[in-house]
């Protein structure tokens, strides 16, 4: 690693040292020097240290095994340096006065190693030079580092320039002389230095540390130290560099070499140029001063002082430069450009004492020696150059330098007086004061700065104050090592930190940091006792068993008496004799329960029919009693009748009402209904605005079986076909009303009249207001059940069937209105009554069980021929279904014609039944009645009194009687039920005509006139199947009474071959 020149350097160093020693010996205080050098203890160390210095740069990068050794040395060095510096700064004058020996002794007392150190230092200086040399050689490797430094240097240089201009004292011309001296010394020292080579490394390391320590110390102690310490390393490098260049000015060769070695970049070149320029100026100024001084100090002993002066000069110059540099560096580091001028000033002052005489001496020596030394220089050539350079560089080690200076000063004590005078002469008092002030300020400043700076450098800062007080008292405490790597690292770190800070500052403007919402990472609720239990014990393969403790078995007292309870049982319907039982009682009732095996349904059926019979019997019995009085008193009013009886219409709600219609049930011949109109005068009861329909059993004439009420005028009325359990009526406002006679009485209007309570039955169902699309829009003129032959056949079973399943009650009902609309309804019985009423069947009374469903509509007028239609639309007045075939119906019109239609199927002939006289006349067909016997013939009564007998098959009538009623309109006309050729005619004049076609075809057999009470309507009682049963005419009178005229046997009893005779007669007449 060491270049070949290392050795030469060493040599030079040794020579230098040697020279020093020699010098010391020659000088005023050779003893001192000798002493120092001879101090046995650390002599070796010191020397090795010097060597170490040489290799320091190299070793810096090397391993650090020798740290301990180094630190030791360093400490000693540090102390020494410190002491020296201190001495120099504060006790310059004193020291000078004092003898060298004294000082050295004192130092020894204080600090064992001082004298040693001094020697060391003197050596070190040289050694530093060597080092510098090494450094130069190695610089190529460290170029990167240096380039950085160079920048700093440049800045420093600039400042320096200014300083140098100001101070202008120093002369580079001295360098040559100095170098010569150094050279000599080196030569002398050559042998000495050699003997401790093996310790070199260690020493070097130590030296390095020493430097650091020194650095630290210097900071503490004051500006000089500060200056020294602040950037020892940098300083050294820079100084070396600069000095080298200075040399280059003088020696081209050297310059070349340096250039070669350095190979530094542009910066360095620039620096060099700068330096040259600077140096020149500095030199000039210095030389001038020196010359001036020289004249004044001619007397001084040149021989002796020459060396001293040289040294001093050198020292001073170096010191100055160093100071400048240091200061600049400091300033740079602290980024304070201020103190450069001040420093320069201070420095000048500092050095003034020395300077004044030294410069003079120097000047003399320079001038004297110039000629001789120049030659020497030339002869020595390269080596000298190098040495000079190294010598200059050696000043890096301020301590060494200082030490040297101290020594120098001591030597100088003789010249002290002169110097002082010179000082005074040269520097005016004012200036001095100024300088002092500035110096103080700077010191303060530097201290401050150093304080901060030192902290970073980890120097034992605490100790420093003491040392400032008494630098010499300081022991070998300065044991800190200048860790360049760490420093560098720190610098980098601080730079990075700075960058990061800037970065963060810039970024923080752009970014919003916030406390975001708290995130719930986990929320585990505590388990309750049961969960824990289950968790630990509720696993598989474990069995849970529960044992009941007696805790919940609690007795509680109550005050109520015990309730006696008995168990009973019952069974319905009873499946045996025993239908109920239980403990105790079962014995007592067991005998009775044996009897109770009753078919309740059979019983009710029996009771219902039986009680009817019994009721009739009772009624008859009563009627018989009455008849003995009343009927006989009321002698038969009709010639054909042999007796009569009255229905009891003398009821409060029937008073004043005209009977408009009487109608016997086809199924139950004894059941009669009567339609009562509005009362003529307001009655007692509230039913004034209602039509009343009474259902009678003619055998119980004392009161009606049922009373029905209807709010509208009833135009026509009929029973249901199968039984007398339902009543239908058509009203004047077009509605069809139905009553279900089995309705429970409590859903109807119950009214207490007198002592009797009557139930007035409201219609179970009405089409009023419902089914408006199909309903009649005008008065319903006729209503007739469509009886089917099958139905007729099961009439006998009707009672039972109706009892068994009322849902079997379905039949069709036809209603005809004036406009010729024939509606067919299906009457159905609902399986279940709903007391709450039906939502869909609005015509249904709540609780009712029967309803009408519209089946079909037939426009009856369409059966009439078109030509009749042209005049005006005929009215339809009545309808009859053919008893044997309910498909055919016959409709009476107001034009004297009877239309023949069918419910379904094709039109059948004849379509019309016309009177004998052709053409249409405005004659109403008031009634149509079919013969009850096999022959399909029917009678047509007209409003003009005409009676026609038609055969179904022929359009024209078989017989027609025009004037039988003398023109009065036919009111009613009825075939007798028991005799085929006999019929009754009632005209509006209340005449009853009895016809018997077997006796007389041309005119009625008899004519009865019932006066004064006009007969409004009549119906005939009788049973075609039981011809012997009683038959009669039921007559309703205007007064409201209903009278039964029993026909005489001769009129009612059937005759032999009557029907054949009739047929024969009819055929004969036709």
């Amino acid at each position: 690693m060491k270049p070949s020149k290392g050795k030469t350097k060493e040599d030079t160093w040794k020579t230098e040292e040697l020279l020093k020693h020699i010098k010391a010996a020659q000088g005023d205080h050779p003893d001192h020097r000798d002493k120092k050098n001879r101090v046995e203890k650390r002599h070796k160390e010191e020397e090795s240290e010097d060597r170490r210095h040489r290799g320091r740069d190299r070793d810096r990068q090397g391993d650090q095994d020798n740290d301990k050794v180094r630190s030791k040395g360093r400490e000693s060095d540090g102390d020494l340096g410190h002491g020296k510096v201190h001495k120099k700064v504060k006790n310059e004058e004193r020291d000078k006065v004092r003898g060298k020996e004294k000082e050295s002794e004192k130092r020894k007392d204080r600090d064992g190693g001082n004298y040693k150190e001094r020697d060391k230092r003197s050596g070190r200086r040289v050694h530093d030079e060597d080092e510098e040399w090494d450094f130069n050689i190695e610089r190529s490797t460290k170029r990167g580092y240096e380039s950085e430094r160079n920048r700093d240097k440049e800045r420093e240089r600039r400042k320096e320039k200014i300083k140098s201009l100001e101070s202008g004292r120093e002369n580079d011309g001295n360098d040559d002389q100095r170098t010569k001296h150094w050279q000599k010394e080196d030569k002398g020292n050559l042998e000495l230095s050699k003997h401790d080579k093996h310790e070199e490394k260690e020493r070097r390391r130590r030296e390095r540390k020493e430097k650091e320590g020194r650095k630290a110390e210097s900071n503490e102690e004051g500006k000089e130290k500060k200056r020294r310490s602040s950037d020892v390393r940098d300083d050294d490098y820079e100084r070396r560099h600069r000095e080298r260049k200075d040399h280059e000015l003088h020696d081209g060769r050297r310059e070349k070499r340096q250039k070669d070695r350095q190979e530094t970049g542009l910066e360095i070149n620039v620096e060099e140029i700068d330096k040259k320029w600077r140096d020149k100026k500095v030199k000039e100024s210095k030389e001038d001063k020196r010359k001036h001084q020289y004249k004044e100090i001619k007397d001084s002993d040149r021989e002796r002082e020459h060396k001293k002066r040289e040294k001093r000069d050198w020292e001073r110059r170096e010191g100055q430069e160093r100071n400048h540099r240091r200061k600049k560096e400091m300033d740079e580091q602290e980024r304070q450009g201020e103190g450069s001028k001040e420093e320069s000033g201070r420095r000048t002052r500092e050095h003034l004492p020395e300077f004044t005489d030294e410069s003079g001496l120097k000047g003399a020596t320079d001038q004297e020696k110039h000629a001789g030394t120049l030659l020497e220089e030339l002869v020595e050539g390269e080596e000298i150059g190098i040495e000079i350079k190294t010598a200059f560089e050696s000043t890096n080690y301020e301590d060494d330098f200082e030490d040297y200076e101290d020594d120098f000063e001591e030597d100088e004590c003789e010249v002290e007086e002169e110097e002082k005078e010179q000082e005074k002469e040269e520097i005016p008092a004012q200036q001095r004061a100024e300088i002092e002030a500035i110096q103080k300020a700077i010191t303060a400043e530097n201290e401050k700065i150093c304080a901060t700076w030192m902290r970073n450098n980890q120097v034992t800062y605490v100790e420093e104050p003491k040392k400032v007080e008494d630098s010499r008292s300081r022991g070998p405490v300065r044991g800190t090592c200048i860790d360049f790597v760490a420093a560098k690292q720190r610098e980098i770190n601080s730079k990075v930190a700075c960058k990061q800070k800037k970065r963060s500052a810039e970024l923080l403007r752009l970014i919003d940091l916030d406390f975001s919402v708290t995130f719930s990472m986990l929320d585990l609720p505590p388990l309750n006792e049961y969960d824990v239990y289950i968790k630990s014990f509720g696993r598989t393969n474990t069995k849970q068993a529960f044992v009941q403790s007696n805790e919940d078995d609690v007795d509680q007292e109550i005050q109520t008496d015990e309730i006696e309870t008995v168990d009973k049982w019952t069974q319905h319907p009873g499946e045996g004799n025993l239908v109920c039982g239980g403990e105790n009682l079962s014995d007592t009732f067991s005998s009775d329960s044996l009897i109770k095996n009753i078919d309740t349904q059979r019983l009710t059926n029996f009771l219902r029919s039986a009680c009817q019979v019994i009721a009739v019997l009772l009624e008859e019995d009563e009627a018989e009693n009455q008849a003995n009085k009343n009927i006989q008193s009321k002698a038969a009013s009709l010639s054909v009748s042999d007796g009569c009886s009255q229905l009891n219409t003398n009821l409060p709600f029937l008073n004043g009402r005209e009977v408009l219609c009487l109608h016997f049930s086809q199924a139950q011949r004894q059941t009669l209904l009567s339609v009562h109109s509005f009362p003529k005068e307001p009655g007692v009861v509230k039913l004034v605005s209602n039509y009343i329909i009474c259902i009678w059993n003619i055998w119980e004439p004392s009161f009606p079986q049922k009373v029905l009420i209807c709010e509208s005028e009833v135009q026509c009325c009929c029973f249901g076909p199968g039984d007398a359990l339902s009543v239908f009526a058509g009203t004047v406002d077009g509605s069809v009303v139905a009553w279900d006679l089995r309705d429970c009485s409590n859903i109807h209007y119950n009214l207490q009249i007198g002592e009797q309570e009557w139930t007035f039955r409201l219609p179970t169902f009405t089409t009023d207001g419902v089914q408006t699309a199909v309903n009649h829009s005008c008065a319903v003129k006729a209503i007739d059940p469509v009886s089917s032959p099958t139905y007729d056949n099961c009439i006998g079973l009707s009672l039972l069937t109706s009892q068994q399943g009322s849902s079997g009650l379905t039949f069709q009902l036809a209603s005809l209105d004036e406009s010729g609309l024939l509606n067919l309804w299906v009457v159905i019985e609902l399986p279940k009554a709903d007391l709450a009423g039906s939502l869909t069947d609005l015509g249904l009374i709540p609780g009712g069980k029967m309803k009408l469903i519209h089946s079909s509509s037939i426009d009856v007028i369409s059966f009439l021929p078109r030509n009749l239609m042209e005049m005006c639309r005929p009215q339809t007045l009545s309808i009859k279904f053919m008893p044997t075939d309910s498909n055919h119906f016959f409709i009476g019109t107001d034009i004297g014609l009877v239309s023949h239609g069918t419910r379904h199927g094709l039109q059948v002939a004849p379509r019309l039944y016309k009177p004998e006289t052709d053409g249409t006349r405005p004659v109403q067909v008031t009634c149509i009645d079919f013969c009850h016997f096999g022959k399909t013939m029917f009678l047509v009564g007209c409003s003009d009194g005409t009676i026609r007998l038609h055969s179904v098959t022929k359009e024209c009538p078989i017989l027609q009687w025009n004037e039988s009623t003398r023109g009065s309109p036919i009111q009613n006309m009825l075939w007798a039920l028991t005799r085929p050729g006999m019929f009754f005619v009632l005209d509006t004049a209340s005449h009853i005509y009895v016809w018997d076609l077997l006796q007389d075809v041309s005119k009625p057999v008899s004519e009865e006139i019932l006066q004064p009470d006009r007969i409004t309507t009549m119906d005939i009682l009788g049973n075609p199947e039981k011809p012997n049963a009683s038959s009669g005419l039921m007559l309703a009178k205007q007064s409201g009474t209903i009278e039964m005229q029993y026909l005489q046997k001769k009129w009612s009893g059937p005759h032999l071959n009557e029907l054949e005779t009739l047929h024969y007669l009819l055929q004969k007449t036709v």
Binding site: D512, L513, K535
Partner: protein, 119 residues
């Protein structure tokens, strides 16, 4: 360095995606903790191991410029209530976290990965 050369927001594809991370975390937890019982001796090392595993897993997601912090807590299930929350002082636009919980009969484990974007 230019004034505005900072990358203030991550590209969408490099954003910290909690859903993915959560899945990864859970996978790791499942791998590591299935059929494990709480053992106070073992748990400290286990948490570290899991945390490392999660970290490497999440790193694979390549959320660029994200600094990751992974926290793993394992506790014993003894029926006590546990409540754990996190609060972050960060830039909610870029930074996010994902968290997953694994529980079995003897232990519960909460693992959270916080991703902080480095601008």
């Amino acid at each position: 360095m230019g004034e505005n050369s900072y990358c203030i927001r991550p590209a969408f594809q490099h954003r910290f995606k909690p859903a993915i991370v959560k899945g990864k975390i859970y996978t790791v937890l499942k791998e590591e903790l299935t059929n494990k019982f709480y053992d106070p001796e073992e748990v400290p090392s286990l948490t570290r191991k899991i945390a490392e595993a999660i970290k490497t897993q999440v790193k694979e997601c390549a959320f660029q410029r994200y600094k990751l912090v992974v926290q793993v807590v394992i506790g014993e299930q003894r029926g006590e209530g546990v409540k754990m929350t996190a609060r972050c002082f960060w830039d909610a636009d870029t930074d996010n976290f994902a968290q997953a919980v694994y529980m079995n009969d003897s232990l519960f484990c909460v693992a959270a990965a916080f991703g902080c974007y480095l601008y």
